[in-house]
Symmetry: C2
Subunit: 221 residues, 2 copies
């Protein structure tokens, strides 16, 4: 008679389990966390700078920045008023839940309301690694071109909000907003979208209002 | 007595060995191959379109395009007059030598002078995978920002030419050309640079001249 060995299905990967631990830590401290992803140069850091400045006196903001090299972005967030922690991935093309765990360990979460995580600039790999954030946000930008949702579907599928940055450049580049937004809608129906310019400030208020309402909603539970 | 087993050092990775095979195939057919890498939306395909059009009647050009999804870019290169092969990586964030080998198998290399490989839009991972091309070219673009060489050193180190695209947008964004070029020079001293705009055509001629001279130089050996 063949002996049957029970197989325990590996339902969650190691990274996913650690992401849940990170999430539990945020929740225990009453902190709302967002993970911001984008191509290099789409404007993640500019959006974070503007957000930190606008929220000063309203929310206590921490920032975790992932980069292959330098602390340029964390420095910019710190200058804007955030408690900033830099993760240098040393070549890795994305943040993962382990890196985030180390970063959280360096922060006093109980003194914060919102943690903004800036992922490594990459429109592919970060989508595959959960961190434990409550919301995942993609920053697209006008000069990247209107075909990006079609060409990078994984990233556009896995987010709860899309920020379309650099709309001040619309007059100077070829960009069909309808085509772009059709692509987003096909991959991620009904996802929240914000068209704005971190340079001119146009459209930023709607993003701030959404973010503040998300943090407030989380605090209620 | 302990028996000694000779250990053969793994000097070249499997990918590097295949890259050498690809190179040998290009060389045997008298084809010059370049590997173009960039962030999503920096303008790889626009540069290739312009290049294919300008070289019509002068060089026979083939194009191999790597994308996660769609054949948008290969279609654009084909419309401009190139023999185009699309590789869909199905999620992979870079081309590798195996993928390139499959693509080459679909081309009649002896009917070509130049093969342009458009890598997946990614400023990190493609730098780690040799393909067998004679030259690696990085396309940067003005709206990506002037800090990119510092933040993505691996990519800037491993190329033989840097194309700085979208210079027509210089009046509309904040970009310190000196700071950007200092970063390139620190990582890759003396690397050939071209500042140009695929949109207006400004600066394209110097790029074309360099490329044609590279192909001619290779043909001589």
């Amino acid at each position: 008679m063949t002996q049957k060995i029970p197989v325990v299905e590996k339902i969650l990967s190691a990274n996913d389990r650690l992401a849940l631990e990170n999430r539990a830590r945020f929740d225990a401290a009453g902190v709302f966390a967002i993970n911001i992803m984008a191509s290099p140069g789409a404007g993640k850091t500019s959006l974070i700078e503007q957000t930190v400045r606008a929220l000063q006196g309203k929310l206590r903001v921490g920032m975790i920045n992932g980069d292959i090299a330098t602390s340029f972005d964390a420095d910019r967030a710190a200058a804007a008023g955030a408690v900033a922690v830099q993760i240098n991935t040393g070549g890795d093309c994305h943040l993962d839940a382990v890196m985030l765990q180390s970063a959280i360990a360096q922060m006093d979460l109980t003194s914060l309301d919102l943690v903004i995580i800036e992922n490594v600039g990459n429109l592919i790999c970060p989508a595959d690694f959960k961190l434990g954030a409550h919301k995942n946000v993609l920053v697209a930008s006008i000069p990247e071109g209107d075909d990006k949702p079609y060409k990078y579907p994984g990233m556009y599928r896995g987010v709860e909000a899309v920020v379309i940055n650099k709309i001040d450049l619309l007059p100077y580049v070829s960009f069909r907003m309808d085509f772009f937004q059709d692509g987003i809608e096909a991959l991620n129906p009904g996802v929240v979208q914000f068209a704005l310019s971190c340079r001119t400030g146009e459209g930023l208020q709607a993003w701030m209002d959404w973010l503040v309402s998300q943090v407030a909603g989380a605090k209620r539970f």
